[in-house]
C-alpha cells in the first residue's frame, strides 16, 4: 500500500474509532491489500447533502453524496419516516437524471409546425418575454381562465401560485382523472375522507392484506413496499387478486387469477359472504354505520355462485378468502389501490372496497386505515388571489357530480370544443400528457387550438415536442422546491435543496414562476427574492430552525394519535355524519346507492385485453432517458400467456407489433411468453415506446400502452378515464 492511497483512505474514514482501527489494522496484512488500497483510493473527497427524491411523487428523504465535486450516489435519509433510510431503485438511480446526456439545455422556441421538434435556442429573457406577451394577449381577449396549467408533483407549486395570481382556476394533474381520483371519490362517499397520498394504509400492522391489482413490489411506492415486506415477515395472510401472477401474487397465501374487469363482482360476493355469515364488525357498524340494512338487502343476490361465472373464481375459494379476510378484522386491510382508472365503474368499485373495509371495521383502526397527521407550518402571506367569474372549465354543469379535483381530460375537451369557454393557452409542467392521457389524437387536436403552448420539462419528452416554447428545468438534484409538509403516520417537514449545479442553462421552477409573475405584472405575489428567503420565513414563523432543516433534511414532529383507540375522534364528514353503507348522495344524482356490478365487454376473437402497470425501476414515461435505470431495464415486453403464444407460434424474444381495434399499431415490442398471465389478456409496463426525436436513447425502445389506448370510458361519478378497455391483436413483422 503506498502512502498516497493510505492518506486518502484516512481522509474518507474520518476520525471514527472503528474506522481508525480498520485503517491501523491494514498495513499488517501482507500482499493482498493492493486490491483494497485501490478500492479505497477510488473514494476521494465526499460531501453529503440531504434533500428529497423526485423520481416519483412519494418524496422520500434522501442524502446525496458528492465526490470530488461530482454527484456520486443518493441514499435514503435515516431520519425520514417515508424512506426509513432506504430509497427505492428509482430513487437510488436518480443520479442518472442529472447525468442524462439527452437533457434539455436551453430554452427553445418552435421554428416549424407544431410537433416537428424543430427549435431555435433562445435566452431565458427572450423565451419568458415571448410567453408573457402571449399570455397577456390571451387574457385580454378571452380572460385569464383561458390559460390552463397541467402540473404534476410538488415542483409545480410556484407555477400554480403564479397561475392563481394570474386569475386562472384551470389547474390540473393526471393524478386525479387518470390515477387515484375514483378511489378517493369512492372513499369520500363512504367515509367522508380521501385515502390521499401517501396512502393512509396501515400495511405494516395488517394481519391480513388483500391486494386488488395493487402490484406492490413492482409499484415501488417506497413506504408501501417496505411495510409490505414487514407484513410478510410478520406472517400476515396475503390475498392477491390479479389477472397476472404479479410479484405480490408470488408472496400470497391466496392468489385469485380474476377475469379482468370483474373485481366488483368479487367484492360484492365477499361482502355477501361476510354479511350472510355475520362475520362483520357488528359493534363498529352499529356505532358508525348508516343504512346498513338497505345495503345488506342490495347485495343479497351477489352470492359466490353468482360471482363465479363472472370472475372465474370458484365459489369455495371466494368463501374461503372472505372468511380469511374477516378472520383478522379489524387488522385486515383491503388495499384501495392507487391507479384505479380501469373499467369505468371505478369509483363504484372503490366504494365497494370502502364498504368491505367498513364491514371489517378497519377505518381508524390498527392494521387498517390510520389517521394521518402533519406539522403545523404557516403558509407564506400572499395577497388574495383574484376571483374567477367563469369558474373552472373542466366539469361544466357538474356533469361529474363527485369530481372534487380538476379533470385533465375535461380541460382537454374544452380546449377542443371551446365549451363552456375557450382555452387558448396551455402550460404543461412535469407531465407528459401523451403518455398520461388516453387517446393522443385528442391531445393533438386540443393543442392545435392553442395560441400558446409552453412545456417545462427536463428532457425532450413527447409533450415538449408539441410546444411553442420549451423551458428546460433543473432536475430535482439541482434545485430547491417547496417544503414538503407531509400528511403521514408521523408528522414531519422535509426540504429539497440543490446537491449539484445544473450543468447548463437550466433553471428551477420557482425561478421560472417568479420571473413569469414579474413579467405578468404580478410582482406583489412574490415578495421574496429567493426561495431560501421564502422557506426561512415560513419555518421561523412556525418556530423551526431553517439551518437544522438544511443540515438534516428533515424536521420530525411529535408522534400523534393515528387510530380511534388512541384518541382520534371518530368523525365522518359525510352528509349523515356516519359511514354511508347506502348513499343518498348517489341516489340524488341518479347513481346506484350501493355498487351494482356490470359485465365488462369480452375481447373479439383473436384479440386480448391490454393491461399495463409498473416496473420497479421506472416511473411512468419519465425515466427512460435515465441511463442508470435504463441499464436495469431498457425496453418493455408484452406478456403473453405461454399457451396462447404457442398457438400464435410466438416465443420469448420475438418482436411483434400490437394492433388495437382502431388499427393503431404499436412500436415493435419483445414477446415474453409466460405462465404468469391469464390467456385472455396481455400486459406491458407503462412508459416505454418513446417517439420524441430528442430522446436519442429511449426512442423506439419498447411500445407505448398510451398510444394504443384510443378508446376509453369515463367514470360517470367523477370523470376519471378508464383505460383497461383496449383490445389488441398481434402483428408479426413481414
Amino acid at each position: 500500500m503506498n502512502s498516497i492511497s493510505r492518506r486518502k483512505f484516512l481522509k474518507i474514514t474520518g476520525t471514527s474509532a472503528g474506522a481508525l482501527a480498520a485503517a491501523r489494522a491494514l498495513p499488517s496484512l501482507p500482499f493482498a491489500n493492493d486490491a483494497l488500497a485501490a478500492l479505497h483510493e477510488e473514494q476521494g473527497e465526499v460531501t453529503t447533502i440531504p434533500t428529497y427524491c423526485d423520481i416519483c411523487f412519494w418524496k422520500c428523504g434522501a442524502i446525496a453524496h458528492v465526490k470530488n465535486g461530482k454527484l456520486w450516489k443518493v441514499e435514503g435519509n435515516p431520519l425520514d419516516p417515508l424512506s426509513r433510510g432506504r430509497l427505492c431503485p428509482r430513487g437510488t438511480g436518480g443520479v442518472g437524471a442529472h447525468y442524462d446526456p439527452d437533457r434539455l439545455r436551453s430554452p427553445l422556441i418552435r421554428r416549424s409546425v407544431r410537433g416537428d421538434e424543430e427549435w431555435t435556442a433562445v435566452t431565458w429573457d427572450e423565451a419568458l418575454d415571448h410567453i408573457a406577451e402571449k399570455m397577456l394577449k390571451i387574457k385580454e381577449q378571452y380572460g385569464p381562465e383561458a390559460v390552463a396549467l397541467f402540473s404534476h408533483g410538488i415542483g409545480g407549486n410556484f407555477l400554480k401560485h403564479t397561475f392563481k395570481a394570474f386569475g386562472s382556476p384551470n389547474i390540473s394533474a393526471p393524478s386525479f382523472a387518470q390515477c387515484r381520483g375514483p378511489r378517493d371519490v369512492g372513499f369520500r362517499l363512504t367515509f367522508g375522507e380521501d385515502v390521499s397520498s401517501p396512502e393512509r394504509t396501515d400495511i405494516r400492522n395488517a394481519k391480513c392484506l388483500t391486494l386488488i391489482g395493487s402490484h406492490l413490489g413492482e409499484n415501488m411506492h417506497n413506504t408501501q413496499v417496505q411495510e409490505f415486506a414487514d407484513a410478510i415477515e410478520a406472517g400476515a395472510s396475503i390475498i392477491v387478486v390479479d389477472p397476472r401472477y404479479s410479484i405480490a401474487a408470488s408472496k400470497a397465501k391466496y392468489y385469485l387469477p380474476i377475469k379482468p374487469g370483474t373485481d366488483l363482482a368479487l367484492l360484492l360476493a365477499w361482502m355477501n359472504v361476510i354479511v350472510s355469515e355475520k362475520l362483520y364488525d357488528a359493534d363498529y357498524i352499529a356505532q358508525y354505520g348508516f343504512s346498513f340494512e338497505e345495503f345488506s338487502q342490495s347485495i343479497a343476490q351477489n352470492t359466490p355462485e353468482w360471482a363465479y361465472p363472472e370472475t372465474g373464481i370458484k365459489p369455495e375459494l371466494i368463501r374461503e378468502t372472505a372468511r380469511e379476510i374477516a378472520r383478522y378484522r379489524p387488522a385486515s386491510l383491503i388495499h384501495p389501490g392507487r391507479h384505479v382508472t380501469w373499467y369505468g365503474d371505478d369509483a363504484q368499485r372503490s366504494r365497494a372496497i370502502a364498504l368491505l373495509s367498513a364491514l371489517l371495521g378497519n377505518w381508524g383502526r390498527k392494521g387498517g386505515f390510520y389517521y394521518p397527521v402533519s406539522m403545523d407550518l404557516p403558509g407564506y402571506p400572499y395577497p388574495p388571489y383574484p376571483k374567477s367569474e367563469k369558474g373552472k372549465v373542466d366539469n361544466p354543469n357538474q356533469k361529474y357530480p363527485f369530481a372534487h379535483e380538476t379533470i385533465t381530460t375535461g380541460i382537454r375537451e374544452a380546449t377542443i370544443s371551446g365549451e363552456p369557454y375557450p382555452i387558448k393557452g396551455w402550460w404543461v409542467y412535469a407531465t407528459n400528457l401523451f403518455h398520461a392521457l388516453p387517446n393522443e389524437q385528442d391531445t393533438i387536436r386540443a393543442i392545435q387550438n392553442l395560441d400558446l403552448m409552453v412545456v417545462v420539462d427536463v428532457i425532450p419528452s413527447e409533450i415538449a415536442g408539441w410546444a411553442d416554447v420549451v423551458l428546460p428545468e433543473a432536475t430535482y438534484l439541482e434545485r430547491h422546491d417547496d417544503l414538503n409538509v407531509e400528511w403521514f403516520r408521523d408528522p414531519f417537514i422535509s426540504i429539497r435543496q440543490p446537491v449539484v449545479k445544473a450543468p447548463d442553462d437550466q433553471k428551477p421552477n420557482w425561478w421560472i414562476a417568479r420571473e413569469m409573475a414579474n413579467r405578468l405584472g404580478l410582482e406583489s405575489y412574490y415578495p421574496w427574492e429567493d426561495i431560501e428567503e421564502y422557506m426561512q420565513f415560513r419555518l421561523e414563523k412556525g418556530g423551526y430552525s431553517f439551518d437544522s432543516l438544511k443540515e438534516k433534511g428533515i424536521i420530525l414532529g411529535e408522534r400523534q394519535p393515528n387510530y380511534f383507540d388512541e384518541g382520534v375522534p371518530a368523525e365522518f364528514p359525510t352528509p349523515s355524519g356516519k359511514i354511508e353503507f347506502y348513499s343518498l348522495q348517489l341516489t340524488e344524482h341518479g347513481h346506484d346507492p350501493v355498487p351494482v356490478y356490470k359485465k365488462p365487454d369480452d375481447p373479439p376473437p383473436g384479440y386480448f385485453r391490454l393491461l399495463y402497470g409498473r416496473a420497479p425501476v421506472h416511473s411512468f414515461s419519465r425515466t427512460q432517458s435515465n441511463r442508470v435505470l435504463m441499464d436495469m431495464m431498457n425496453e418493455n415486453e408484452i406478456w403473453i400467456n405461454a399457451d396462447i403464444a404457442a398457438r400464435w407460434e410466438l416465443k420469448s424474444g420475438d418482436r411483434i407489433r400490437l394492433k388495437n381495434e382502431d388499427g393503431v399499431l404499436s412500436n415493435l415490442i419483445k414477446v415474453k411468453a409466460t405462465e404468469r398471465i391469464r390467456p385472455d389478456c396481455v400486459y406491458m409496463v407503462h412508459g416505454f415506446g418513446h417517439t420524441s426525436k430528442g430522446l436519442r436513447f429511449a426512442r423506439g425502445r419498447g411500445a407505448s400502452d398510451s398510444q394504443l389506448i384510443t378508446r376509453y370510458k369515463v367514470d360517470p361519478l367523477m370523470g376519471g378515464t378508464a383505460m383497461n378497455l383496449t383490445f389488441v391483436t398481434f402483428e408479426r413483422e413481414a
Binding site: 474518507i12 474514514t13 471514527s16 472503528g18 474506522a19 480498520a22 491494514l26 500482499f31 493482498a32 493492493d34 486490491a35 483494497l36 485501490a38 478500492l39 479505497h40 477510488e42 473514494q43 456520486w72 443518493v74 441514499e75 435514503g76 432506504r86 430509497l87 427505492c88 431503485p89 437510488t92 438511480g93 443520479v95 406492490l216 413490489g217 413492482e218 415501488m220 417506497n222 413496499v225 417496505q226 415486506a229 410478510i232 415477515e233 401472477y245 410479484i247 405480490a248 401474487a249 408470488s250 408472496k251 392468489y255 387469477p257 420497479p616 425501476v617 441511463r627 442508470v628 441499464d631 436495469m632 431495464m633 400467456n641 405461454a642 409466460t674 405462465e675 404468469r676 398471465i677 391469464r678
Partner: protein, 179 residues
C-alpha cells in the same frame, strides 16, 4: 477469523433491483455491466405457480475455482472475511476466471481487468454494510460472519430452511437463500 456471507430472504425479496442500482452507483459499475442481478425462478402451470426471486452475485466461494485458475494471482482470497477479490494491475485479462465460475459472476471491465462483486469490502472495513444490503427496501438481505455463531447470518441459517445456488458445482458458495 471471519468468513463473510450473505443470507437473502426470498420470501421478502420483491426483485426490485435496488441492490443492483445501488451497486452500480456505489462501485461505479460501468453502463451495460452488472455485478449483481435478479433471477426469477417460476415453477408450475398458471395459476398454480411458485416463484422464487433471488438477488445473485459472486458467491465468494470457499473453494473458488476463479482463484485457483488465475495465472497471476490477481484473483485472490482476501485475509479479511475470505472475500474473493481481483487486483486490477495484476490481471492480464485472460478470462480463465470468467470461464471457471459456475455462476458467471465475473465480467471483463471495459478497462480490461476481470471485475465482479467485492462484497463491498471497502465499506465493510469501515463498519458499513455492503451497498446492496444497506439499500434493500425490503430488508431481505443480511451480511455477516459465518464464523461468529452469534451473527445474524448464522442465526437465520440455523432457524430457517435455505439453499445455495448450484452447490453441486462444488465451490462452497457463501450466499444463502432463505425459503
Amino acid at each position: 477469523m471471519s468468513r463473510y456471507a450473505m443470507v437473502i430472504d426470498t420470501k421478502k425479496c420483491v426483485g426490485c433491483m435496488d441492490c443492483v442500482v445501488a451497486c452500480k452507483t456505489e462501485n461505479n459499475v460501468p453502463e451495460g455491466y452488472n455485478r449483481d442481478w435478479i433471477v426469477q425462478d417460476v415453477m408450475g402451470k398458471f395459476p398454480d405457480l411458485h416463484m422464487e426471486i433471488r438477488s445473485e452475485r459472486c458467491n465468494h466461494c470457499d473453494e473458488p475455482p476463479c482463484v485457483h485458475c488465475c495465472p497471476t494471482g490477481a484473483s485472490h482470497v482476501h485475509e479479511r472475511g475470505g472475500v474473493v477479490l481481483v487486483e486490477h494491475n495484476k490481471c492480464i485479462g485472460c478470462k480463465a476466471c470468467l470461464a471457471s465460475c459456475p455462476y458467471d459472476a465475473r465480467f471483463i471491465h471495459p478497462d480490461g481487468y476481470a471485475d465482479k462483486c467485492t462484497f463491498c469490502i471497502h465499506r465493510v472495513e469501515v463498519g458499513l454494510l455492503p451497498a446492496c444490503v444497506s439499500v434493500c427496501p425490503t430488508h431481505c438481505m443480511y451480511f455477516g460472519n459465518l464464523d461468529d455463531p452469534a451473527s445474524d447470518v448464522n442465526k437465520l441459517l440455523n432457524s430457517r430452511s435455505h439453499h445455495a445456488v448450484l452447490p453441486e458445482a462444488g465451490t462452497k458458495p457463501h450466499i444463502f437463500y432463505l425459503t
